[in-house]
């Protein structure tokens, strides 16, 4: 080992030498080659400026990272950050050492988000679409192998993409590498968490794993990087400061002998089951990708956070069905935090103990080889380091969170953004909403602190709130529209601080809408709600009320927003169209012509 280190070091040096070389050897060089080389030198230099070399525990431990926004957010591996602790020292090519704080972690995907402090103009890398990456593309990895970068100048290693959409089994339920990129650029201990760039210096992945077996923990020409597309899906969630979970469909799939992927088992309380998926159905596409192997299915599943709604197409008896399924979490509420607390050994997943492996005789695909995540370059000497003041200002410990400080921040931002156009703090009186139903008929909704009254063509409905709303399912087939309306008014009046337990979930997709939206998740009156906000405008797009697990939520979808002058002269944005959905059907669509969010009537 001692012997090998200088060799790699020199190998790295020779690479730099060849970058610098052309100037002297330019005489008989084809101008096109010289130009291409100059471009490559420039893109490497640009890319290196965004790389972070992480040191922890007085430099005895560490890894790599990459800055992705000017305000200092940087990606790394969970297994690097877990070993480093909540505060890190991060060196960059400007020669400065920055303090950094943990933000959010994804232990299953082996991703961590940290924030470098002290600047708002950090050089940052651009995450591009990793589905555009092909086998044979030239790539380079930047990082801190063997913690060599004590001068904060990272090491560059060069290679090609050996494979895309690779699946690598987890250790237990953690550190699963799905849909990852495989490269032959040297990935060594200390490279963990560092960027993999394409030839133009755009970020396509975060390195974190190698196939190591009998040859010791050094590069064997097989490194794996978490794809930029998976990172993009998780980024909003990582900024929530939470400990994130991955997703499950609630169904198992397997390949049949005709190259189809079939449902081999399904949970009856899963959303997939409620959306019609059954045993023996063929999975045609998932997450927008055609599915031909069980690995491809697991690859898609692995790139989405828990609770996302993802398109699924399945086929039964020649007929195809297109649905959106809500993905459930892999772990229970407390399970993940417990797992981290006990500090799982980052050991080899035992292929023989994997679920679903039955026969002793190796199947046609044979048993899986062992893969081990890259270890932190060295073991920490001590766990508790003094947290610098600047970091302490950005850190707040709380169960279930990597750093609650960031959740509070994001929650506050989303709320402030909403309130900028829709401040209902004083509208604590009775709200009346009058209008037409899409199916002919008049309607009137009356919302107050006490409950909801609703006049519909079919008759009147009333909800008087007393205690838990878990059983408040009225009107029938609405999933609990009255309770949802009650909680909606209550939320926009009270705000997240007073409504109940409200946290920032992250960013989620909304079926039928491009891009991601901000989500606040709330618990109040014994039920869960989720409020979705349009980034930028801050408008509330949707509310979901989950009364009972195993049941579909009642969804309030808001649109046709325009300003409404209030009695107090203040203008507020209010949605004038409300669609109420439950399961696969629309319960009602309201077109309001008259909305009056009253202030309390003054007593005579």
């Amino acid at each position: 080992m001692k012997y090998a280190l200088p060799a790699w070091f020199f190998a790295g040096l020779s690479l730099f030498a060849c970058i610098a070389g052309p100037a002297s050897a330019a005489a008989d060089l084809d101008p096109a080659v010289a130009e291409a080389e100059a471009e490559r030198v420039a893109s490497m230099e640009r890319a290196c400026r965004t790389a972070v070399v992480i040191f922890a525990h007085q430099g005895n431990d560490g890894g790599s990272g990459v800055v992705i926004s000017p305000d200092g957010y940087a990606l790394s591996n969970f297994h690097v950050v877990q070993a480093a602790g909540n505060a890190m020292k991060c060196g960059m090519t400007d020669g400065r050492l920055y303090d950094a704080v943990i933000v959010g972690v994804d232990p299953v995907g082996d991703v961590a988000l940290i924030k470098l402090l002290g600047r708002d103009d950090f050089p940052c890398a651009e995450l591009i679409d990793s589905d555009e990456v092909s086998q044979g593309d030239w790539v380079f990895a930047v990082g801190n192998p063997f913690l060599l970068a004590t001068d904060y100048k990272p090491t560059v290693t060069y290679g090609i993409v050996s494979g895309v959409h690779r699946y690598q089994y987890p250790a237990g339920t953690l550190l699963e590498y799905t849909d990852c990129l495989q490269t032959d650029a040297s990935i060594n201990p200390g490279n963990s968490g560092g960027p993999l760039f394409n030839a133009e210096g755009k970020l396509i992945g975060v390195n974190g794993r190698g196939s190591f077996e009998k040859r010791g923990r050094v590069n064997v020409g097989v490194g794996y990087a978490i794809s930029s597309n998976q990172l993009k899906n998780f980024l909003g969630h990582l900024k929530s400061g939470r400990i994130l979970d991955h997703a499950t469909l609630g169904a198992r799939v397997s390949n049949d002998d005709q190259g189809r992927v079939l449902v081999s088992d399904i949970l009856e309380d899963s959303d997939a089951y409620r959306r019609g998926l059954r045993y023996d159905d063929e999975i045609v596409s998932f997450g927008g990708r055609p599915i031909h192997t069980a690995n491809a299915f697991k690859n898609v599943l692995g790139i989405f956070p828990k609770d996302w709604q993802v398109p699924l197409t399945y086929r039964r008896q020649g007929k195809t069905y297109d649905v959106f399924v809500r993905l459930a979490g892999v772990h229970g509420q407390q399970e993940l935090a417990d797992k981290l607390a006990e500090r799982p050994k980052l050991e080899v997943p035992d292929p023989d103990k994997r679920p679903g492996k039955k026969s002793e005789k190796p199947g046609p695909e044979g048993p899986e080889p062992k893969r081990i995540p890259l270890p932190p370059a060295m073991q920490p000497k001590q766990k508790t380091a003094e947290m610098p003041d600047v970091v302490r200002k950005h850190f707040e410990a709380r169960s279930g969170y990597a750093n609650y400080y960031f959740n509070r921040q994001r929650r506050g931002e989303v709320w402030a953004n909403f309130q900028a156009h829709s401040d209902f703090t004083t509208a604590t009186g009775v709200w009346t909403l009058r209008g037409q139903l899409l199916t002919p008929g008049d309607s009137q909704l009356e919302l107050s602190d006490r409950g909801v009254e609703c006049a519909l063509p079919g008759g009147n409905q009333k909800l008087l709130v007393q205690g838990s709303l878990a059983t408040a399912a009225d009107p029938p087939d609405s999933g609990g529209m009255l309770a949802a309306l009650y909680l909606w008014r209550r939320f926009v009046v009270l705000g997240p601080e007073k409504f109940g337990d409200v946290y920032y979930e992250g960013t989620v997709p909304m079926p039928g809408r491009a891009g991601l939206v901000d989500a606040l998740y709330a618990t109040s009156a014994g039920v869960q709600c989720r409020f979705l906000f349009e980034p930028g405008t801050g408008r509330m797009l949707k509310m979901e009320l989950f009364r009972a697990s195993g049941d579909d939520p009642c969804e309030l979808i808001f649109s046709n927003v325009h300003d409404l002058p209030g009695a107090d002269g203040q203008e507020r944005e209010l949605p004038h169209t409300l669609e109420v959905r439950y399961g696969d059907h629309t319960y009602a669509i309201f077109k309001f012509s008259d909305i009056n969010p009253r202030q309390p009537t003054a007593l005579p």
């Binding site: 690479l15 060849c18 032959d184 199947g363 695909e365 044979g366």
Partner: protein, 350 residues
């Protein structure tokens, strides 16, 4: 790591740099390298067979050498089973038959029942001088399954040399020329993969894992195709074809047997018991010829004998009037031993 190998790494990296820059500007997927990869991948085969315990992977790599489903791969324990599966690049799976193997070259030819497959032509295989850039295609670590393409790595031919240049350093019966590569190509499961130039022309076959007993380092190497063409041609011509069990061949009246040779094989307890010699009887022809206990019989004549049963069956078909040529594996060397024909005393009396 020695000084010279260090130099090689530096040299190799420097060589790799210049052309890389040109490729760097191309868009993802349509780089010339990407085109080469797309053209080679359909010829690469994932092979699954015996193993799967004690660090012995039950998979290796191979590549198609005919449109009718001939696959060239390395000869190894993975093929030591009646159930070999070959998965093609499109994910289709076939039962593969072991046509024949040559333990001297450590190669084997498999056959699947298929037609019009994309394949390499061994006779147009290229020659790779030292310093030329190469691509290695293999299913190393079994990373790819089904229709997932095999892994591709890039590197440079460091030198073309003979494997026995460092006598005794590597435990392998193959002593011939090899390409030494600067890339980490020879990992578990990579053996049998294809080495091509950057235009996708076949140069060699990735060899089995080899660790130097002197330096404890792993060798990354490939066997040049030209070393193998003659043998593969004779296999394809049927010369090496294993005798099938139901072949209606008239057995000679006076045939050889292990006992007659003075050999005792290990007890035949498995479906395919490796034919190790347990004992050589004193004063026997076997002893006189120099056979020893613990020798593993690999060939009788030109026929591969993979089990005790195959040895018995082959000897039953060999007339005592003919000499018997045995090829045995002894301490990682292949040793050829010929036992002379038996004089037929009865005949001579009459």
């Amino acid at each position: 790591m020695t000084k010279s190998s260090l130099l090689l790494i530096c040299l190799a990296l420097a060589t790799a740099c210049a052309p890389a820059a040109a490729a760097g500007r191309a868009k993802a997927g349509d780089s010339s390298l990407g085109q080469t990869v797309a053209q080679v991948e359909p010829k690469i085969v994932k092979i699954y067979g015996a193993g799967g315990y004690r660090g012995l992977e039950a998979y290796q790599s191979g590549f198609l050498i005919s449109g009718e489903g001939h696959i060239l791969t390395v000869w190894s324990y993975v093929l030591d089973t009646d159930y070999i599966t070959a998965t093609l690049n499109d994910g289709s799976r076939y039962d593969a038959k072991l046509l024949a193997a040559d333990p001297r070259l450590e190669l084997a030819v498999l056959k699947i029942e298929a037609r019009d497959l994309p394949h390499f032509d061994l006779h147009t295989a290229a020659d790779g001088p030292a310093g030329s850039r190469v691509l290695a295609f293999s299913n190393l670590f079994g990373v790819a399954t089904g229709d997932e393409p095999a892994s591709v790595q890039h590197g440079v031919i460091s030198v073309r040399t003979r494997l026995d240049a460092r006598r005794g350093a590597y435990e392998t019966p193959y002593k011939g020329p090899i390409y030494v590569l600067d890339a980490m190509t020879n990992n578990p499961g990579a053996a049998g993969g294809a080495l091509t130039d950057v235009r996708g022309r076949l140069l060699g076959m990735l060899g089995k894992e080899l660790r130097s007993s002197v330096s404890n380092t792993w060798l990354n190497y490939a066997l040049p195709i030209e070393e193998m063409t003659k043998t593969v041609d004779s296999i394809l011509a049927g010369k090496y074809v294993k005798r099938s069990a139901d072949e209606r061949e008239i057995k000679p009246q006076h045939a050889w047997s292990a006992q007659r040779l003075g050999l005792v094989l290990v007890p035949d307890v498995l479906e395919r018991t490796p034919p190790y010699i347990d004992e050589v009887r004193a004063g026997s022809a076997a002893e006189a010829a120099g056979l020893r206990p613990d020798d593993l019989v690999i060939f009788i004549g030109d026929r591969l004998v993979a089990s005790c049963k195959a040895v018995t069956s082959e000897l039953e078909r060999t007339d005592r009037a003919d000499p018997v040529k045995l090829t045995v594996s002894r301490e990682n060397d292949l040793v050829e031993i010929t036992l002379p024909a038996e004089a037929r005393e009865v005949k001579s009396e009459k």
